[in-house]
């Protein structure tokens, strides 16, 4: 509308300027020359304002030509017959020119629009193949469609639990009424899935990929004129493919997750049943021999069997304790019961509960270590599990060392050092994972996981590194009750 007026104004202005310039010279100019000059405003009009502006400027040019340049001047009276011819040719040629130029113009703007659409489509497809989550993808899809087609309202519906629900929208949401009209009800005849349909100001396209319905795209239909349907359908197809791909990927991810959970559960059952069965087998073998009244066991054999039962019963008790700890962790009831205690006290308790298996455990702590804030039960379990682990991997007759020292301003670091094979750098995070264990080891791999969880419940850290001189060094920190004084730090330095 505005463009048309601008074109007309430009054309009229050109006519005024050219006429003003030519009127003083008109006696020297032939009617053909003036007619030729008056082509200019018509072309200006049609290029700027389109065909309608062109036609108006033809009329204006015709009148001006007749009025100013066809003798007798300043009348619409046409004198000689040859002037009639000039006027007629001018009018006819100008109409043709404006038509041709207008057609060229509209072809050019159509091409420009198509170019923009292709660019948008390219942009959309680039976005669609990017690996994004469904939410991000959907919201960018609807806004792109809204931008490209200038739609007031774009809504994308996807199935959720069998019902189509709004997954993303741009512009105003669908009213309940509209939603009801768009969505087919059970037992209701619908054209959904066959071809796009227009309904109550909404243009509805069923998205399908590989013959499978994917969702529904709803666009306010004021913008979907006949010539815009094809590009919209093209967009819809792209969207359908992308949505399907993301849905399939999500499904694949979910099934992988389920597999992983099942695998973990299987590992857990396998590991736990192995760990329960191994001590049970020894106990059952020994007790069935002892209980056999027909057998004549000597005192030495009896003592061996009884001792084995005792040791294996401890192993069972330890495993059951770990399983209980594990279930406590999984139930999410792990809140430390804080109390003020000392590392020495914690260590004494842990060493008491431990079967040393002939190893020497050396404790290296300073007598003046600050008190720490910790759950005595949980940290005892951490110490027992770390020591158990160290004993398990230590060669016979090598000592296990427990060291405690102040660390930073408000922490005590406890280290358990063994002379075993150590933990290679790549596995240092892995060892704390559930059911991680060396391939030749019988333990269920619960101990270190429990230790890590308990330490982290205190807001502290646990890690493993290589011990100086070989072997593994497991360390964890505990919070001191009060900040560590400077003199204590100095004392620590001189201690080294």
């Amino acid at each position: 509308m505005r463009r048309w007026l601008v074109g007309l104004a430009a054309s009229l202005a050109a006519i005024v300027v050219l006429t003003a310039a030519m009127v003083p010279l008109r006696s020297h100019l032939s009617p053909a020359t003036t007619a030729l000059v008056l082509v200019v405003p018509v072309v200006v009009g049609v290029v700027v304002g389109g065909l309608a502006a062109g036609v108006c400027s033809v009329v204006a040019g015709f009148l001006v030509y007749d009025f100013f340049f066809i003798p007798p001047y300043l009348t619409l009276w046409v004198g000689a017959a040859q002037n009639w011819v000039a006027l007629g040719v001018y009018g006819a040629v100008m109409l043709l020119v404006s038509q041709v130029v207008a057609r060229m113009n509209s072809a050019r703007s159509e091409a420009r629009r198509q170019g923009r659409e292709i660019a948008e489509l390219f942009e959309l497809s680039r976005m669609l193949v990017e690996d994004r989550s469904l939410d991000v993808l959907l919201s960018s899809v609807v806004s792109t469609v809204a931008d490209v087609f200038g739609a007031r309202q774009v809504v994308l519906l996807l199935p959720d639990d069998g019902n189509l629900t709004v997954a993303a929208s741009k512009g105003q949401d669908l009213s309940d009424n509209q939603l009801r009209r768009v969505l087919p009800k059970a037992g209701e005849l619908t054209s959904l899935g066959v071809s796009p349909f227009e309904h109550d100001g909404l243009f509805v396209i069923a998205l399908a990929a590989a013959g499978r319905p994917v969702g529904l795209l709803v666009v306010s239909s004021d913008v979907v004129k006949a010539d815009r349907r094809a590009p919209l359908m093209l967009f819809a197809n792209h969207i359908a493919l992308a949505v399907e791909r993301v849905q399939l990927r999500d499904k694949a991810l979910q099934s992988r997750l389920a597999e992983e959970v099942a695998r973990l559960a299987k590992t857990m059952v396998g590991a736990v049943s192995h760990d329960l069965r191994a001590p049970l087998t020894t106990i059952k073998g020994a007790s069935s021999t002892l209980a056999d009244s027909e057998l004549d066991l000597d005192a030495e054999a009896t003592r061996t069997l009884v001792k084995l039962i005792d040791v294996q019963a401890d192993r069972l008790a330890h495993l059951v304790q770990n399983l209980l700890d594990m279930s406590r962790i999984q139930a999410g009831v792990l809140t430390p019961r804080w109390s003020v205690t000392s590392v020495d006290e914690l260590l004494a308790g842990a060493l008491d509960a431990l079967d040393h298996r002939g190893h020497v455990i050396t404790v290296e702590t300073r007598g003046d270590l600050p008190f720490v804030d910790a759950d005595e039960v949980l940290i005892s379990r951490v110490l027992i599990n770390l020591l158990e682990n160290a004993l398990r991997y230590s060669p016979k007759a090598t000592p296990v060392v427990v060291r405690a020292a102040i660390e930073g301003d408000d922490r005590v670091k406890v280290s358990v050092i063994d002379r075993g094979p150590g933990v290679i750098a790549e596995r240092r995070n892995e060892v704390f994972e559930l059911f991680s264990r060396r391939h030749d080891d019988a333990g269920a791999g619960l101990g270190l996981t429990i230790a890590k969880t308990f330490v982290e419940a205190h807001g502290q850290h646990i890690w493993v590194s290589e011990a100086p001189g070989g072997g593994a060094m497991f360390c964890f920190t505990l919070a001191t009750v009060a900040p560590i004084s400077e003199e204590m730090k100095l004392g620590a330095d001189s201690h080294h």
Partner: protein, 228 residues
């Protein structure tokens, strides 16, 4: 005195078995890895081997099949996981029997005695023309069976089923082994054949409680001579 070799990586279990089985009148040697066990078996040729399936160096199944390459010594497998698959695999690899952990010492000893009783003789040959299992006598050439001297009327497949078990007397034969050898390789899924035929054979032999033709649910069957 029977020489028993136990291959297991659990030192405590080895000690228990040594004490228990020696008290029951056996001579016991132990090995804590598969390779050590194979070496021990080669050097001392024990009368029977007890083999744990979960060994640190070699898989128990691997130990079993390596052993079978040069020895027919009876192998009793200790299965820890209780899953049928591993047991059946071990039996297919040539193991004779299995005991599930945990076990009583008498139970292990009883299995050992069955294996010792039916230990294959060292004589080589084309296989016997006649097999005797307790009161049952099978003439493999004329395909005739007698029980306590009187003829038993067996259908051809019934005879073959029984003969197959008799040739491996004392050994647990897996369902797959029996189906493959008696009916053919394409019949290995027809597990119901075994139930039907075992039922008929027991009826004809008067073995109503399954003492002679023993069945191992989900694993297989074996023929055991009852103790006199």
């Amino acid at each position: 005195m029977a020489q028993i070799l136990i291959i297991d990586d659990d030192a405590d279990l080895l000690r228990v078995c040594r004490v228990g089985l020696e008290a029951l009148g056996n001579a016991v040697r132990t090995a804590d890895t598969g390779l050590a066990g194979l070496a021990e078996a080669a050097i001392r040729s024990p009368d029977v081997i007890v083999l744990d399936l979960g060994l640190p160096d070699l898989d128990g199944l691997e130990v079993c099949s390596r052993l079978r390459a040069w020895s027919q010594v009876p192998v009793i497998v200790l299965s820890a996981d209780g899953s049928e698959d591993r047991k059946v695999e071990a039996l297919d690899q040539g193991a004779d029997d299995y005991v599930t952990k945990p076990f009583g010492m008498r139970e292990l000893n009883a299995r050992l005695q069955v294996a010792l009783r039916h230990r294959p003789s060292d004589e080589a040959g084309d296989g016997p023309a006649e097999v005797v299992v307790g009161a049952l006598r099978l003439d493999l050439v004329h395909r005739e069976a007698t029980l306590d001297g009187s003829a038993v009327d067996l259908a051809p497949k019934e005879f073959e089923f029984l003969a197959f078990l008799a040739r491996h007397v004392g050994k647990v034969c897996t369902r797959r082994m029996i189906l493959e050898n008696v009916w053919g390789a394409q019949y290995t899924k027809e597990l119901h054949y075994l139930k039907v035929y075992a039922y008929r054979i027991r009826r004809k032999l008067g073995d109503h409680d399954g003492k002679l033709l023993q069945s191992d649910p989900a694993v297989g069957y074996r023929l055991v001579a009852p103790l006199e």
